[in-house]
C-alpha cells in the first residue's frame, strides 16, 4: 500500500512542475513588463533598473522562473497590482468559501445521483429510468448561469424563500442558519450538472455489475432483491464512482467561477473574474495555480482511495 501511494505521488511531481511552468509561461504572455505597473513618474532610469534587478527581470527566463518558483514554494504568490498587498492573503481569504461551496455541491450530487442511478439501473427501461435519463440530459445541457437565474427568479424573487446572493445577510451577526440559507441555492446550482453525471455513471456501472455472474448466482439461489442490490451489487458498482470525483473536480472548480458570479459568492472563482476585469494578473495567475494544485491533490486522493477500495488497482502494474 505504501509503495502504491509513493508511486502515485512520484508520478504527480512532474505534473506539478508542468503546472508551474504553464502558469509562468502564461504570465510571460501578459503584455508589458511587470515593473511598468509599479513605475511612478518620479522614478529615474536607475530606479527602474534597480527594481528590474530586484525582480530578476534582467536575467534569462529560466532563472526568472526558478526565482519565482522559489518564492512560490516559500508561500509567496506575489503582490496584487490593485491592492499592492500579498496575493497569498487574498487567496486564503477566498479559498474557504469555494471549498465550502464545492464540498456541499459534491455531497448534494452524491445524495441525489447515487440513489437515482441505482434505481434507474435496477428498473432499467422503466418510467423512472426514462425520466432520470431525460432529466440528467437536461442537467448536463443547461448552462449553470441560466439555472442560477431561474433559481433566483423562483426562490428569491417570486417565493421569497432564499436570499439571492452573498454568503451572509448584511449587518447580521454570524449565524449558521443564515449561512446555510445562503448556501442552498448556489450549492444546488453547482450540484445540478454534476449530479446528472453521477447518475449516469452510477447507472452504467450498476448495470455492468448486475449482469455479472456472481450476481446472477446470488439471484438464482433465491437471494432477496434487497440484499442482492445493496449488499452484493452496490459496493462494487460504487468503486468506479471514486474515479469520477477525480475527473469532475476541475469541472467543479471551473463551474464555481460562474456560479459564484451569479450568486455573488465570495470565493476564488469570483475573485478570478474580478481580477480579470481589473487586469490584476498576479492574482489571476495565483488562482489558476492554486486551482490546478487543488485538482492534482484531488486526483491523487481519488487514486489512493481507489487503491484502498480495490486491491486489483493497488497490486496490478496498471501504470498508464
Amino acid at each position: 500500500m505504501t509503495q502504491y501511494i509513493l508511486r502515485r505521488v512520484l508520478v504527480s511531481i512532474p505534473v506539478l512542475l508542468g503546472i508551474t511552468i504553464v502558469a509562468y509561461f502564461i504570465m510571460t504572455l501578459v503584455p508589458g513588463n511587470f515593473v511598468d505597473t509599479f513605475v511612478s513618474p518620479n522614478m529615474t532610469e536607475t530606479d527602474i533598473r534597480l527594481m528590474e534587478e530586484k525582480l530578476n527581470l534582467d536575467k534569462p527566463v529560466y532563472l526568472q522562473y526558478l526565482g519565482w518558483l522559489r518564492n512560490i514554494l516559500s508561500g509567496n504568490l506575489g503582490y496584487s497590482f490593485v491592492t499592492r498587498g500579498p496575493v497569498t492573503d487574498r487567496i486564503i481569504d477566498r479559498a474557504g468559501a469555494t471549498l465550502v461551496l464545492a464540498a456541499s455541491a459534491v455531497f448534494l450530487s452524491y445524495l441525489i445521483g447515487i440513489p437515482l442511478g441505482v434505481l434507474s439501473a435496477v428498473r432499467q427501461y422503466s418510467v423512472v429510468d426514462w425520466a432520470a435519463t431525460f432529466v440528467s440530459f437536461v442537467g448536463v445541457s443547461a448552462p449553470s448561469f441560466f439555472v442560477g437565474l431561474i433559481g433566483i427568479y423562483v426562490f428569491s424573487l417570486r417565493l421569497n424563500l432564499l436570499p439571492s446572493g452573498g454568503r451572509r445577510s448584511m449587518g447580521m451577526d454570524f449565524s449558521l442558519m443564515d449561512q446555510m440559507r445562503h448556501l442552498i441555492l448556489p450549492a444546488t446550482v453547482l450540484a445540478w450538472g454534476y449530479s446528472s453525471r453521477v447518475l449516469r455513471y452510477v447507472r452504467s456501472s450498476m448495470l455492468d455489475v448486475i449482469h455479472q455472474d456472481y450476481v446472477q448466482t446470488a439471484r438464482s439461489k433465491g437471494l432477496r432483491e434487497y440484499y442482492l442490490v445493496f449488499r452484493h451489487a452496490l459496493p462494487n458498482a460504487l468503486t468506479p464512482v471514486i474515479t469520477l470525483f477525480g475527473l469532475q473536480f476541475p469541472m467543479l472548480l471551473g463551474g464555481a467561477v460562474i456560479t459564484e458570479t451569479v450568486f455573488s459568492w465570495p470565493g476564488l472563482g469570483r475573485l478570478a473574474v474580478e481580477s480579470i476585469h481589473k487586469r490584476d494578473y498576479p492574482v489571476i495567475m495565483a488562482i489558476i495555480l492554486v486551482a490546478a494544485v487543488m485538482v492534482l491533490i484531488g486526483n491523487l486522493l481519488a487514486d489512493v482511495l481507489y487503491g484502498v477500495v480495490d486491491p486489483r488497482i493497488r497490486l496490478g502494474d496498471g501504470e498508464s
Binding site: Q124, S141, S204, I276
Partner: protein, 314 residues
C-alpha cells in the same frame, strides 16, 4: 438506449417461402457501407432523431437569420425601450430598444459557429498528437501524456478566462482559445484507441507483409479509431457552446454590438430585469439549453449506433 437489439439486418426470405420454421435469425450478405449502417442505427434512437430535428431547425434559423429576422439586430428603436412582447416584436425589445427576436436569430450564428470552429480546431490537433503518442509509445508517449495531465489539471474555464484576459475578448479569440485548449481530451481518446488497435491481428498482418508505419496508421488504424472520436466531437461541440455562453455571460466573450445568446443573458444580471422582464433572459437561455440538449441527444445516439455493446448503458 431504447430498443434496437431486435434490429434485423434483413431476412433472406420469409418463413412461408422457405417452407420451414426458423428459430434463428437468418442473415444474407448484402454489402453495406459502415456509415449507412451507423446512420440506420442512429435513426432507431428516438432522442437522437428528436435532437437532430431540433438542431436542424435551430441551425436553419441561424443560417437564414437575415431572411427571417424582422428587424436589423443592431437597429435601435429609441421610443420603446424594454417593451414587452407585442405583435410587432414577438419577443419584445431590450434595454436600448433592439428587437430581441432578431438578436436571438443572429446570436445563434455566433453561438453555433463557435462550437463548430473550436471543435474542428481541437479535433485536428488532438488527432495528430494522440496518434503520435499511441503509435510511437515510449518516450514520446510519456512526454505527451504528462503534458496532457498538466493541461487537464487546470480547471478548463479558469484557463480559458486567463487566456481571454491576456489575448483579449472577441469572437475570433474565443474560437481560437477554445480550439487550442480542447485537444488533450481528444488526444487521450485517440491514444487509447490506437493502443488497443495496434496489437490486433490485422495490423500485425499488415506489418508482416511490409506495409509502412505511416500507411498502417492512416489506412488501417485511424479509420477504426474514428468512432469514439466522432462521439467526443459531438459532445465537445455542446461543451464549446456552453463555454462560449459562459464567457459571454461574464462579459468576456463576444463584444457588443454583436450578440450571442450568452451575452444576451449577461444583460439580465440585474435583479430588476430578472424579475420584471423575463423576455430578455428566458429566450436566449432556452436557446442555449435546447441546442446543447439536442447535440447531446445526437451524441448519445451516435455512441449507441457506433458501439452496439454500449447500448442501454452509458
Amino acid at each position: 438506449m431504447t430498443s434496437g437489439s431486435e434490429h434485423r439486418v434483413g431476412p433472406a426470405w420469409t418463413e412461408e417461402e422457405r417452407g420451414e420454421p426458423t428459430t434463428r435469425q437468418d442473415f444474407v450478405y448484402r454489402p453495406r457501407s459502415l456509415s449507412g449502417m451507423v446512420f440506420r442505427q442512429f435513426l432507431q434512437h428516438r432522442l437522437a432523431v428528436l435532437g437532430m430535428v431540433m438542431l436542424v431547425l435551430i441551425s436553419l434559423s441561424a443560417l437564414f437569420a437575415d431572411v427571417l429576422a424582422p428587424y436589423d439586430p443592431t437597429y435601435i428603436d429609441p421610443g420603446f425601450l424594454n417593451d414587452a412582447p407585442s405583435r410587432a416584436h414577438p419577443l419584445g425589445l431590450d434595454q436600448i430598444g433592439r428587437d430581441v427576436f432578431s438578436r436571438l436569430l443572429y446570436g445563434g450564428r455566433v453561438s453555433l459557429s463557435v462550437g463548430v470552429v473550436a471543435v474542428a480546431i481541437y479535433m485536428s490537433i488532438g488527432l495528430v498528437v494522440g496518434s503520435l503518442a499511441g503509435y510511437f509509445g515510449g518516450v514520446v508517449d510519456s512526454v505527451i501524456s504528462r503534458i496532457i495531465d498538466v493541461i487537464l489539471s487546470f480547471p478548463r474555464l479558469m484557463l480559458i478566462l486567463v487566456l481571454v484576459s491576456v489575448l483579449g475578448p472577441g469572437l475570433r479569440n474565443i474560437m481560437l482559445i477554445l480550439g487550442v485548449l480542447g485537444w488533450p481530451g481528444v488526444a487521450r481518446i485517440v491514444r487509447g484507441e490506437i493502443l488497443r488497435l495496434r496489437v490486433q491481428e490485422y495490423v500485425l498482418a499488415a506489418r508482416a507483409i511490409g506495409v509502412s508505419n505511416r500507411r498502417i496508421l492512416i489506412r488501417h488504424i485511424l479509420p477504426n479509431a474514428m468512432g469514439p472520436v466522432l462521439v467526443a466531437a459531438t459532445f465537445g461541440m455542446a461543451v464549446a457552446i456552453l463555454q462560449e455562453a459562459g464567457l459571454s455571460f461574464l462579459g468576456l466573450g463576444v463584444q457588443p454590438p454583436a450578440s450571442s445568446w450568452g451575452q444576451m443573458l449577461n444583460q439580465a444580471r440585474s435583479l430588476t430585469v430578472l424579475e420584471s422582464k423575463p423576455w430578455l433572459w428566458v429566450p436566449p437561455g432556452m436557446s442555449i439549453l435546447l441546442s446543447v440538449l439536442s447535440i447531446n441527444f445526437m451524441g448519445d445516439g451516435l455512441r449507441d449506433a457506433l458501439d452496439p455493446e454500449l447500448r442501454g448503458r452509458d
